[in-house]
Assembly symmetry: C2
Homo-oligomer: 154 residues x 2
């Protein structure tokens, strides 16, 4: 972290400052993966709103959000998960230690998500029914990983 | 926001919970763009560390991080910048009102960044000198936007 922080603040990380002192106490890998999840949520929020009829369907906006999801799912995420960043070790994460005991399964689940977002990216602009049909498997892929590898909500 | 939050928490946003109550008070568009910046920083941190000799150069890791940057820079970011999310209006952002008065220039600068990260993605695996040469323009592109459109550090 000592190696990374000066560069972050010099070049690209000043946005961190704006989020206050608390953010600086979060493990940087945890912060990166939570940021990645936030960007999933940013795009899923629009698509889910359209699917539920709370937001007017817009083919161009749906395509853009779905393409974002596919691009995010395809990012190399290997540096998000250093040893010692599980929920037994750090307060600021819900990532269960089971992740590190089941890496092949985690990778398989991430591939399922990548495939589902790829389909969504090609389908989301084809009308509300196509969006709904292809969004379902994305939600299932999210849920499959959360169910096994995230501290439950309750 | 009322439309988006339920979906976020149901499907993909539970990571937000782990970051505490403060995070929920941040405007969701601001949170999304700050998350995007965090992911730039996550990848730039590795590449900058290699460029400075603080982290051993690794062609595969450099290529992966550079490809991440290029993919991030290519994301559709139009929904990050709703009116009324500037630094005069919201506490949690350093995004100057000048952004909304100079949209064509902001877009032009974002294209410069996208081009620079594209070059970096093809060059970063070609040795430390190639990494250094192609990382410079990325840093300049970051800085050009921050200089004009972000609340200064001091």
């Amino acid at each position: 972290m000592a190696l990374i922080r000066p560069f972050l603040f010099g070049l690209a990380g000043a946005a961190l400052v704006a989020t206050g002192a608390l953010a600086q106490d979060i493990n940087p890998a945890v912060k990166a993966r939570q940021s990645h999840m936030t960007l999933y949520g940013h795009n899923l929020g629009l698509l889910g709103g359209m699917a539920r009829g709370n937001i007017d369907y817009d083919a161009e906006a749906a395509t853009a959000a779905a393409a974002n999801l596919a691009a995010l799912a395809a990012l190399d995420q290997s540096r998000y998960w250093p040893e010692g960043t599980d929920s037994d070790t750090l307060m600021e994460t819900r990532a269960l230690p089971a992740i590190w005991e089941n890496i092949p399964d985690v990778i398989e689940k991430s591939r399922t998500l990548a495939a589902a977002t790829g389909t969504l990216a090609t389908e989301a602009g084809g009308g509300l029914d196509a969006l709904r049909a292809s969004l379902g498997p994305v939600g299932e892929a999210c849920g499959a990983c959360h169910e096994d590898y995230r501290v439950p909500n309750d």
